[in-house]
Amino acid sequence: MIPAGSLLTATGLHKSYGPTPALDGADFSIHAGEVVAVMGPSGSGKSTLLQCLAGIIRPDSGTVTYDGRPLSEMPDAERSALRRGEFGFVFQFGQLVPELTCVENAALPLRLAGLKRKEAERRALEWLERLEVADIRGKRPGEVSGGQGQRVAVARALVTTPRVIFADEPTGALDSLNGERVMQLLTDAARDTRAAVVLVTHEARVAAYSDREVVVRDGKARDMAGAV
């Protein structure tokens, strides 16, 4: 059953790589404007859950529903458009394009959506300013620090004002101070724009920026809201 008012829901997800199930009947749901931490030991299926929710991989069985529509019923092109326009992604290592400047990187999703360069970069610069890295706009990723690069990656994820942000260990490569700042900026921006954030992390201090946590173990997801 889909919880009322949820933006993104998964029910009974199964996914195996070979004989080992990565997901074994996992359920999940998130509302608009909510930050949910997905926690659990390495190899528990956290990242597989995120990738199924984002439509990056197809589950063997089970359903992912976004805004009332099952992802599995969407044609590939529509699912790709969804990932570009309505979803934003932040990974552990920024995964910026090394040949592009920081502002070009942040503007990339808008350019891919067909926006003109000038307008795309104007909007990207607003996000770089908000993430306190406007001064490195003209530099290439190789010329900036890890913390700066990750902020550019967050700007890139937010530039399309997505409705869902998928963040997989977004501060995993940063020191405490930079990690905290990135989490503050990311969750503030998400709350302002009413975006939902699916935050995969094994760090408790990062999870403390969430509204609630879901623990994945042995391929099953346990919602800890109301557990205490």
Binding site: A37, H202, R205, A208, Y209, V215, A227, V228
Partner: protein, 174 residues
């Protein structure tokens, strides 16, 4: 925390009344646990007896709360020693949580759920502290961070224990 040393160090900037000392302590260090007036006066009379403070003046009206205290040279030396002495690391070797996990396993209860519920409780407190950090000043941030890192350490232990429950169950039920 040594309340005596803290009050003594607060006197280094100049003489203060007992109620003024309490207020200064509460503002800086007593957010969650303000001092009782009784604690202040019993501490000050001990410091007085030991020659670490002296009475600098008494306001009209009498009563113990009208005394103004000043730190003595011996008091300044004592604060210096206290600050230079490292704190003893507390290893919490016999924590209640460890006991609960072992007892759950010994009695065939679900230790995994016990740990999940504990994680949730820790995270609830960590969210509160994180929120307080967002709105607080730098001093507030530092004190919250200290608590957050300790809670995080508990959780790292919890995750490791969760990963070893199977092996631990075999040992304790042997």
């Amino acid at each position: 925390m040594s309340i005596g040393h803290t009050l003594l160090a607060l006197l280094e900037s100049g003489p203060r009344h007992g109620y003024d000392l309490k207020r200064a302590f509460d503002e800086r260090f007593g957010h969650d646990r303000p001092l009782h007036y009784g604690q202040v006066y019993s501490t000050m009379s001990r410091l007085l007896k030991n020659g670490l403070v002296e009475v600098d003046g008494i306001e009209q009206g009498g009563g113990p709360d009208r005394k103004r205290y000043a730190i003595t040279d011996a008091g300044v030396t004592d604060v210096g020693h206290w600050l230079a002495q490292p704190e003893k690391p507390e290893p919490y070797l016999q924590s209640t949580l460890y006991t609960k996990v072992v007892l759950a396993l010994m009695t065939g209860r679900d230790a995994g759920t016990l740990l999940d519920v504990q994680r949730s409780e820790h995270l609830r407190l960590m969210r509160e502290l994180t929120q307080r950090k967002r709105t607080g000043d730098l001093a507030d941030q530092l004190i919250c961070d200290h608590a957050l890192f300790h809670l995080e350490a508990d959780l790292r232990w919890l995750e490791l224990t969760a990963a070893r429950l199977g092996a631990l169950a075999k040992e304790v039920t042997r």
